[in-house]
Symmetry: C2
Subunit: 399 residues, 2 copies
């Protein structure tokens, strides 16, 4: 597997580590990951909205409140999700935060892996002690951290930007693990972002929520939301650059944050469930934003569309008929579809399927432009194909 670059410690003020403590049985891969700030920093977080919610999510939500968004460390483990574990799970998640050696409510926790099994606290204890010792702000720390949160990922997923402002510079880095709810049991999206720009708590929360909405919330592999999904952003301010709310620099920061998260989101889709290609479902001309969203999600979520994508089949009928069935305002005679820019369906009528269209369907990334012609709203959703590897990954595992 490709080595992580370890971008998470590139912004100033952060150190990280990843150690193997045996939670992933039979594997020597790192399974405890620690990200620490030199001092309490501004934090923002977005969590799963699944009503089945893992203990670490509940505890992190609590700590975000009690610390008023001033966080010293994030500790994550892979191999055990600490989900569906009842009161013991809550106790274990709290104990995990206590093991870091700073005020527990300044620690966020995240877990991913098997559900319904108690977190092995003896292993966590030993693992976290070593993780604290190994904290480093160079690439080894950052790379270890990323390896420590990965589960079934086929490659590390990281992205960074550096922004120049009047002779100064700040950095923004992000990492993610996840290939949607992949075996075993359920997997999770965990994402961590660091920056050395200075931002306020409410400001960072708003920017993070907006960027998540335009990135992680725009992808679908199987429409299945995990119980552990977590995205945390930490801002150390150590670059000396302050992002003033409402200013031009905030726009730049927001754009960079969205870029980073979208890049990470697309890496998830590319890795998703043994995918051979990705697709971008652009809907335009919808009656309302809700309609655009509805159509894009319905088409991108269709198993018939995704198996056609796997087969490289320019099956416009499946796309158009799903749009017609999903409940959005729809007029057959106003609907058009392009595949990678090539028209295949115009104003309700199919066009000839050319060799060029057949060829473009086998590209790594296929863009479908579905124009509904009944309004001005638009949306985009990213997905990947559904092929034999998906079935293999998701069926041939026994609970």
């Amino acid at each position: 597997m490709k080595r992580p670059a370890g971008v998470i410690t590139h912004p100033m003020g952060f150190s990280a580590s990843g150690v193997a403590c045996g939670i992933k049985t039979g594997k020597e891969a790192p399974d405890v990951a620690l990200l620490a700030a030199d001092q309490p920093v501004t934090a923002a977080a977005v969590f799963t909205t699944n009503k089945v919610c893992a203990a670490p999510v509940l505890v992190s939500r609590e700590h975000m409140k009690t610390s008023r968004g001033r966080i010293r460390a994030v500790v994550a483990n892979s191999g055990n999700a600490n989900a569906c574990t009842g009161k013991q799970g809550m106790t274990d998640a709290r104990s995990t935060a206590e093991l870091i050696g700073v005020k527990p409510h300044e620690v966020l926790v995240a877990s991913t892996g098997l559900i319904g099994r108690p977190l092995p606290m003896d292993k966590m204890d030993a693992g976290i002690r070593r993780a604290v010792e190994k904290l480093s702000s160079d690439y080894r720390g950052g790379a270890g951290f990323l390896r420590g949160i990965m589960t079934t990922d086929r490659f590390p997923k990281e992205s960074e930007r550096s922004i120049q402002v009047a002779g100064k510079e700040f950095r923004l880095s992000g990492v993610v693990k996840g290939a949607a709810m992949i075996a075993p049991d359920m997997a999770t999206m965990l994402s961590f972002v660091t920056t050395d720009a200075a931002l306020g708590r409410a400001q960072l929360q708003k920017l993070l929520a907006g960027a998540v909405g335009r990135s992680f919330n725009r992808i679908t592999v199987d429409g299945h939301m995990s119980t552990n999904d977590t995205c945390v952003a930490l801002a150390s301010g150590r670059s000396g650059v302050t992002v003033t709310p409402g200013g031009r620099l905030e726009k730049k920061f927001a754009a960079a944050l969205e870029d980073v998260l979208l890049e990470l989101a697309l890496l998830i889709v590319r890795d998703g469930e043994g995918a051979v290609r990705t697709a971008e479902l652009r809907v335009s001309g919808a009656r309302s934003a809700a309609d655009a969203e509805l159509a894009a999600r319905a088409v991108a979520g269709s198993t018939l569309v995704r198996t056609a994508l796997f087969g490289g089949d320019p099956n416009w009928g499946r796309i158009v008929s799903m749009a017609g069935a999903c409940g959005c305002a729809f007029t057959e005679a106003k609907t058009s579809l392009k595949i990678n820019g090539l028209p295949i369906y115009r104003n309700g009528r199919p066009l000839p399927v050319t060799k060029e269209i057949e060829k473009t369907m086998t590209a790594d990334h296929v863009v479908f432009d579905l124009s509904l012609g009944v309004g001005r709203a638009s949306s985009v959703v990213y997905t990947c194909d559904l092929g034999h590897s998906y079935v293999k990954l998701n069926a041939e595992y026994t609970t």
Copy 2:
């Protein structure tokens, strides 16, 4: 393939036929099917609600109005869906009705097969002439009819009931074709029901709509609605039994109709997309009927749940987490799940996965009882597994 019994002509007053006229190129399978009543009979019909709607559906809707639900014949073809065919498609669907030799508005038309291609009217012309000649009220007519509407079906699907009433008897027969939107392009559910009981038009329409809601609308293979779905019921009254509205006999009739349609619906699921097993998703204890419906459809439609079903994996986590994410009122600690009657998750906590549970997951039919514990509403949805055959069927076809 198993031979059809030809039940559609068992009720008195009907004849049928099926002939091969070459619409399915390279195949000698029947592709034109004709069902005729000796005289105009009471008709009811339910059509696709997809906004991409095939010409035969538009024409049949029109004819149901102009004939005031008094119908002489239904003509169906397989191999060509006459969908996305514009004005020519409408002309062709109308001409098809005219070819039968009775008043055209007393004829309903239905098509299934490839979309976006004009109906070969010369072949249809010759086919329908022969179909009229071959009309027969014995099993050959009924069997020919069923074979004439089948496309990718792996077996014929038919069901019948006979009901005794005070020394008299009437019959109710139904057939269906379809395995959801299977290749090529898009397929369709076409269902035809005959009875020799006497019913009024509005009465039959109401009973049919109700029964479709509790049968065909309760199954999902890939959540993809065809542009051609049609269910037609014809009542000849020839048994001499009149089903009085609101009476006890109407309840009997309604139950029999629902039985027949549910049996047909389950045969579709069993045939669906190369399925190896079927599943019944029962949701109880929901806050509202809409919530029960939402949860049952979300879980039954989940590709993760359906691949686990293929793998025979008792993956309660995927079921519970999908219910938690779908938006219904949900409290983890009140949620329980049984698989074929065996408890695997109770009040938010997983129970041990016994050998018995592992074994029952490989049964032909798996019943999931998901109890939400927050109300009294319930719902049920039927589905099938998603395995390699599904991918093969839906990916390895080129438009």
